[in-house]
């Protein structure tokens, strides 16, 4: 009878055998390549498959999208489209005043821009605050700590469409919230028909759905901070608030920076759960940039892929700038920290 360990060793041999065979075949050409090109070239050689996939699936679509943004017409096949230069960009920027979407030719684009800006400012600040507070609490010696961690992480596992549907069932006219309010003697209220409540709901729901992921990153950062730093601070009589500002926050900064960048990118791209929850309404009060791009490029009758592509290029440019600013701030913070 074969033992368990013997079986595992057998399995390992089956898995590694092909690798040995491949490496055996590649060994001689790789050595020759290294002799000719040096070791520096080897890195490029091994990066090539990855770069190829990245190029085909990321860079190439980016350039194709850029090409689309320079074309007009309703056809989808690029060679069938007419070259219009920067006309689509000019149309997006054709405004008397950028702060008044009503004065723009593409008024829904600017409505979406300002809605997205408001969403990003509020959602990113609240998301970081809530995730940080949750991570700090979950880092303490709580009873059933693993259970609470799972509870906060659970919504991350749900599809955004499911998240949108769950909250729609809660907030709609005959939803759970109104059922509860009615039971308590209050008049039901149509939350999703109210501009302010609908906007707040999109922020709240997106925080609920994704905070678990960011909490997890911050929790990992908190657990990497050596405990003896806090013990030493406690012996010196440092108060917990001061320990937070002087020890926790500076040492958590690399994780926080990652979280800020990720939250920011995700907030600018918000679409799926909001599309299901409010459909961009009431009116256009929760119409965000990604929905505008989707509607213009795909859902509208006689769609305009060129205009949608131009709007998506602008959105991408804003994201790149924001990310660079974040990284720049992070690096300058690190340098300052180093001087101290």
């Amino acid at each position: 009878m074969r033992t368990h360990d013997t079986g595992r060793a057998g399995l390992s041999a089956i898995v590694t055998a092909p690798v040995h065979v491949v490496m055996g075949i590649l060994d001689m050409p790789l050595r020759r390549l290294q002799r000719v090109g040096g070791t520096g070239g080897m890195a490029a050689f091994f990066l090539m498959p990855n770069m190829l996939i990245f190029g085909i699936f990321v860079l190439l679509p980016f350039f194709i999208n850029f090409a689309y943004s320079m074309t007009g017409g309703t056809a989808l096949f690029l060679p069938d489209r007419t070259f219009v230069g920067a006309d689509q960009y000019a149309r997006l920027f054709d405004c008397r005043s950028y702060v008044d979407p009503g004065s723009c030719v593409e008024d829904t684009f600017w409505t979406a821009v300002w809605n997205t800006a408001a969403f990003v400012v509020l959602q990113v600040s609240l998301m970081i605050l809530v995730s940080l507070v949750t991570a700090l609490i979950l880092n303490r010696d709580l009873a059933a700590r693993s259970f609470w961690r799972a509870v906060f992480f659970f919504p991350v596992l749900l599809s955004p469409v499911v998240v949108g549907l769950i909250w729609k069932w809660i907030l709609q006219r005959q939803g759970l919230l109104n059922f509860g309010l009615y039971g308590l003697g209050f008049d039901p209220y149509v939350w999703l028909n109210d501009r302010n409540w609908a906007f707040a709901a999109t922020i709240g729901v997106s925080i609920w759905a994704h905070m678990g992921f960011y909490t997890l990153i911050l929790l990992a950062g908190l657990q990497a901070i050596p405990k003896d730093l806090y013990e030493a601070a406690e012996m010196d009589g440092t108060r917990p608030a001061r320990a937070f500002w002087r020890i926790t926050l500076p040492l958590l900064m690399p994780n926080l920076l990652v979280v800020v960048v990720l939250v920011l990118i995700r907030a600018v791209q918000i679409f799926d759960e909001v599309y299901v929850l409010t459909g961009g309404g009431p009116g256009t009060s929760t119409l965000y940039l990604t929905q505008y791009i989707y509607e213009t490029g795909f859902a509208a009758q006689l769609r305009n892929p060129g205009l949608a592509a131009a709007a998506s290029i602008l959105m991408g440019a804003v994201l790149v700038v924001l990310t660079l600013v974040q990284l720049g701030l992070g690096r300058s913070g690190e340098k300052k920290g180093g001087r101290k």
């Binding site: 007009g72 017409g73 309703t74 056809a75 989808l76 096949f77 007419t82 009503g102 030719v105 008024d107 829904t108 006219r173 005959q174 149509v190 999703l192 028909n193 501009r195 409010t278 459909g279 961009g280 309404g281 009431p282 009116g283 256009t284 009060s285 929760t286 119409l287 929905q291 509607e295 795909f298 859902a299 509208a300 009758q301 006689l302 769609r303 305009n304």
Partner: protein, 422 residues
């Protein structure tokens, strides 16, 4: 080792089969308003037994998939082999000409010729497919609520104002949230607009700016949403041209008067059952006429199919008089088949309300305006509908005055015409 190879081979075949059409495969993209998906599956199972060499795959999808994703697939030269669509004219360049492929083109011309132009490129004699049902927009009233409120249901020639007044009275009396609702759809808005004398078609055949008739009804409509006569949830709840129906509110007894169309009859018959009494009321009248909007879904062959002969065979089968008869009688849809309409149908339902509703819609076809009959075959209809929905919603949500909405509708449509290069 042999077992592993067999499994890998099976996996490879499975993957290939899941991603590409095999010879003899015919894939149909289908959406359902009621039970018609089940009926079609039944009919196709019989077809496959009779034609073992043809494998018909029925993809049941949401209407929004047909509306939003199919056009993109078609533009990319892909998609299913057959699809059930409502946006027939504007996409007609993607339909396959079945004339050289079907067994008897004269049968198609004779029985489906009246609507053939709705789904063919202008100026051609192409056979693209056939209408699975002819629909007509019209109203439904919750009779039980009217009876309980002691309010008489407005008569045949009642105006939109009469219905608004009566429905509001019933809603207030019976404490239901919605007096009236009209689907969030440009097609649905168009019936009443035409009854107010509106006309979308310019002298050159291209879209004209909104005229006084259209403005009059739209002003009234937005006013009804603002004062709560018309349900706010349907029109204010989404941005863009997203479709929203109020059928569930009517089915749940939350709505007194619902303006939708004949395709709701089987849905109501199945879902309302004996919960309350309801009646179809035809289209209310405006100053110009009492027209509804005709339409329907067409089953069309897609020209990018790799199996055109098999597609034609499936289409010939589904367009056969006995099959159309069975499909219509079991789904409670009005067929487009001329011969069948002349012979009459025996709808398979014990629901007297559904039968009466279907008869109401049949008699309402007599009051259709000339323009209403022209619009399903007009290239720019959907462009007009999309702009109407987007801007009227914004006005209804209080984002812009109704006059500005009119200006925006005209500008949106003009931009679309310019973008199209036509």
């Amino acid at each position: 080792m042999k077992k592993t190879r067999t499994m890998l081979a099976a996996l490879a075949v499975g993957l290939l089969a899941s991603t590409s059409a095999l010879a003899g495969d015919v894939r149909i993209m289908w959406y359902s308003d009621g039970v018609e998906g089940e009926v079609l599956k039944d009919l196709l199972d019989r077809f496959m037994k009779e034609n073992p060499g043809i494998n018909v795959i029925l993809d049941n999808v949401a209407y929004s998939v047909v509306r939003e994703q199919l056009p993109v697939q078609l533009e990319a030269g892909a998609g299913p082999d057959i699809a059930r669509v409502t946006n027939l004219k504007a996409q007609s360049q993607h339909w396959l000409d079945l004339r050289p492929l079907v067994a008897d083109p004269a049968y198609w011309d004779e029985n489906f010729g009246a609507q053939a132009d709705w789904m063919r490129p202008d100026g051609s004699n192409q056979i693209s497919g056939f209408m699975t049902q002819i629909t007509l927009t019209g109203g439904f009233a919750n009779k039980t609520l009217f009876d309980q409120a002691g309010v008489a249901i407005p008569g045949k020639d009642a105006t939109w104002d009469d219905w608004a007044k009566a429905a509001k009275q019933v809603a207030e009396s019976q404490q239901v949230p919605f007096a009236m609702a009209l689907d969030r759809s440009g097609h649905r808005l168009t019936g009443p607009i035409l009854s107010y004398g509106g006309n979308y078609v310019g002298a050159d055949g291209k879209p004209a700016p909104l005229d006084q008739g259209a403005k009059d009804f739209l002003t009234k409509f937005v006013g009804w949403i603002e004062d709560g006569t018309m349900g706010k949830d349907v029109w204010v709840s989404a941005a863009g041209s997203t479709y929203r129906a109020a059928a569930d509110d009517f089915i749940n007894g939350q709505l007194v008067y619902y303006y939708s169309g004949s395709w709701q009859v089987p849905n109501f018959s199945t879902k309302i059952g004996s919960n309350f009494d309801w009646v179809a009321t035809g289209s209310p009248c405006g100053p110009a006429n009492c027209t509804g909007m005709p339409g329907g879904a067409g089953l069309v062959a897609i020209k990018y199919t790799k199996n055109p002969k098999e597609v034609a065979k499936v289409m010939d089968y589904l367009a056969r008089e006995d099959i159309v008869k069975e499909f219509s009688e079991r789904t409670l849809f009005l067929p487009a088949h001329k011969g069948l309409l002349a012979k009459g149908l025996d709808f398979k339902t014990d629901d007297a309300q559904a039968k009466a509703a279907l008869n109401t819609f049949v008699s309402a076809t007599g009051s259709l305006s000339e323009l209403a009959q022209k619009l399903p075959g007009w290239f720019w209809s959907d462009t007009f509908y999309g702009a109407l929905v987007t801007r009227v919603s914004q006005a209804a949500a209080g984002e812009m005055p109704v006059d500005e909405a009119f200006t925006r509708i005209d500008a949106d449509i003009a931009a679309k015409v310019k973008d199209s290069g036509l």
